[in-house]
């Protein structure tokens, strides 16, 4: 049984739809034997009394929601949304840069600062990306501070207005459509698909016609949704951190483009590790020994700062597991800072030492030596029978040939 809290705000529960959703959530928690309280911003000193916190209020790095997320993380609590996700998704400059870096299809996107805002640059961009263009303030939400511009003058005028909100603006190719897709994901799984059908002659969800007609929201069965849609949406979620996401996409000639990622993931690795030792999702991992191969954020470095490996391992450890880790660069006498980073883990001198007697082996850094392991020996040394490959580093066939089970990321498990 867990003690859960939903952090919410007055303006959220004022809406009957929201209030119904929150009370349904509470009933579901009660039925599973959990405690659930609603927590308001003047009650944050009680945050430490809970095991997990769900944020259901406007997320913004400058709002109390970010304080809740960040404080909960420092206290070692599970929280949705994660502060990284809030930081990335609330700033469209950051969000689109992360999507582009991971190769997720998005409309052509640029960012400008004040010194770049001129009629000459505007004319060039209208030529390059086509007219009209969509301008967005980085911190806009509910499609406010999002505007279409067709001329250099309008571009500069709207750009100046948006630059009062932030020192950058986002300029984007316009993709006309009568509807948007919204895909809701959590921990690498699609929870739901919705089609937003805009009010006639409108191009934004929150616009309505003069006669007061709003966009229609139509639920779609996940099994009936285009696999490509789901694939692009999951790639977007993966590029932007750890959270419950609502991803908005445009469909143009059978191709899907991500236009927004609304945050609301490492957690999925913990799910995979939990499943690999035959326990149910959410179960404690007391008595389980996890052999962690790799601690640094990538191969070829000794840097563990912001390493996903440490975060995954800490989360696993919080569930009660014992962590025995091996990394070729985390050996011998460590400087105090590095020693602090790994103080809660047993450090092994070789990969084989880490694996000996382990219930599950987890590959967290793409060091080539892990791919070259003799998996027959691994199978004999470990107590369990599954390798979770968080980096898709290993050859699944080689692992399976030794009689081990293999779980990768976005690959079939066996």
């Amino acid at each position: 049984m867990a003690r859960l809290a939903i952090f919410t705000e007055r303006y959220t529960i004022r809406s009957s739809v929201e209030l119904t959703a929150l009370t349904n959530f509470r009933l579901a928690a009660f039925e599973q034997g959990h405690e659930l309280d609603f927590l308001f911003k003047n009650e944050l000193k009680y945050l430490r009394n809970y095991d997990g916190i769900l944020i259901r209020a406007l997320t913004d790095p400058l709002n109390t929601t970010y304080v809740v997320a960040r404080t909960a993380e420092m206290l070692g609590k599970r929280v949705l949304d994660h502060s990284d996700a809030i930081l990335i998704c609330c700033d469209k400059v950051n969000m689109y840069a992360r999507l582009a870096a991971k190769g997720v299809p998005i409309p052509e996107t640029r960012s400008l600062e004040e010194s770049d805002l001129s009629a000459v640059n505007a004319a060039r961009l209208l030529e390059e990306l086509g007219a009209p263009l969509v301008l967005k303030a980085p911190n806009s939400s509910f499609s406010a501070y999002v505007d279409k511009v067709a001329t250099p003058d309008a571009f500069v005028k709207v750009g100046k207005r948006f630059l009062r909100r932030a020192d950058r603006i986002v300029v984007q190719q316009y993709m006309p459509s009568d509807f948007d897709w919204r895909v809701i994901t959590l921990a690498g799984t699609v929870l739901g698909v919705v089609r937003y059908e805009f009010a006639p002659n409108q191009w934004k969800l929150m616009d309505r016609t003069e006669s007061g007609e709003w966009a229609k929201v139509v639920g779609i069965d996940v099994a009936d949704a285009s696999p490509k849609l789901l694939q692009v949406a999951l790639a977007a979620a993966n590029a932007t951190g750890e959270s419950l996401y609502g991803i908005d996409l445009k469909e143009i000639d059978g191709e899907f483009y991500v236009i927004e990622v609304n945050e609301q993931q490492h957690q999925r690795m913990v799910h995979k590790i939990t499943a690999a030792v035959g326990r149910a999702d959410g179960d404690r991992l007391d008595g389980v020994t996890v052999a962690a191969l790799g601690l640094t954020f990538k191969a070829g470095t000794d840097d563990m700062r912001d390493s996903p490996a440490l975060r995954i391992l800490r989360k696993t450890q919080q569930r009660g597991a014992t962590i025995r880790a091996y990394d070729p660069t985390v050996q011998g006498d460590l400087d105090p800072h590095r020693a602090t980073q790994v103080r809660d883990f047993e450090i092994a001198a070789t990969a084989v030492d880490a694996i000996e007697g382990a219930d599950v082996v987890v590959v967290l850094t793409e060091w080539p030596e892990f791919a070259a392991l003799d998996f027959t020996k691994v199978r004999e040394a470990m107590a369990g029978d599954t390798i979770v490959d968080c980096r898709n580093l290993l050859d699944p066939a080689a692992v399976r040939a030794s009689g081990l089970r293999y779980t990768g990321i976005g690959r079939p498990s066996s």
Partner: protein, 214 residues
């Protein structure tokens, strides 16, 4: 994303604190004001996106400037902080320092008496809509404002604390409000210290640490 003019970056080519250095970074962003969505913030973001280890990261900046987060982070690192509470309506008895938590204002206010609290209560919370972090002040105190350049203070009294603050919060330039009581130095809040506000002695202090980059 388009490329843009790089603001003042500082290349760190020496260990900052000798052999026990706990700060590792490729470059320091010396904008000094790293507030969310400002030019200084985006300079750090671009460095992060380029895969560089930068001081500060965007997350460091928010950890330092968002006062309730700074309180928790400091306390976890054994840096003394004053008693503090997040309120929307019921304020403690004056005097106190009050820091708004909302997207529109960040300036802390000193509320010396109950009349000041009464007149500012609605303004600070936007009529109860947003939260405020309050730090009740002991009667016997003074408030010092420090200017820190890469963890160094020109005031000898603050040498040790300056370094600790830098190790925890990692902002190359910071203005720090300290509540000094007869017993302790308590961290109240961290605010921007823009590069162009630095004096010649502070700039000289920087010059000794590394080299400028384009």
């Amino acid at each position: 994303m388009s490329t843009r003019s790089t603001p003042a970056f500082f290349h760190l080519d020496k260990a900052l604190f000798g052999p026990t250095a706990t700060i590792h970074a490729d470059i320091a962003n010396l904008a000094g004001d790293y507030s969310y969505l400002t030019t200084g913030y985006y300079a750090s973001l671009e460095a992060e996106l380029a895969g560089l280890k930068v001081l500060p990261t965007t997350a460091d900046a928010l950890d330092a400037y968002v006062v309730p987060i700074a309180m928790e982070k400091a306390a976890r690192a054994d840096l003394p902080v004053p008693p503090h509470e997040i309120v929307t309506d019921r304020f403690p008895p004056a005097p106190m320092l009050a820091y708004p938590i909302n997207p529109f204002s960040w300036k802390g206010e000193l509320l010396l008496d109950d009349a000041a609290v009464e007149s500012r209560r609605k303004g600070l919370t936007y009529t109860g809509k947003y939260a405020v972090l309050v730090q009740p002040l002991p009667h016997d105190h003074r408030i010092d404002v420090l200017r820190l350049v890469m963890g160094r203070s020109l005031v000898a009294e603050y040498t040790g604390l300056a370094r600790q603050l830098f190790e925890v919060f990692r902002l190359p330039l910071m203005r720090v409000r300290i509540i000094v009581t007869p017993k302790a130095y308590l961290l109240s809040a961290i605010e921007p210290l823009r590069f162009d506000e630095l004096g010649s002695e502070e700039r000289a202090c920087l010059e000794g640490l590394g080299t400028w980059r384009g």
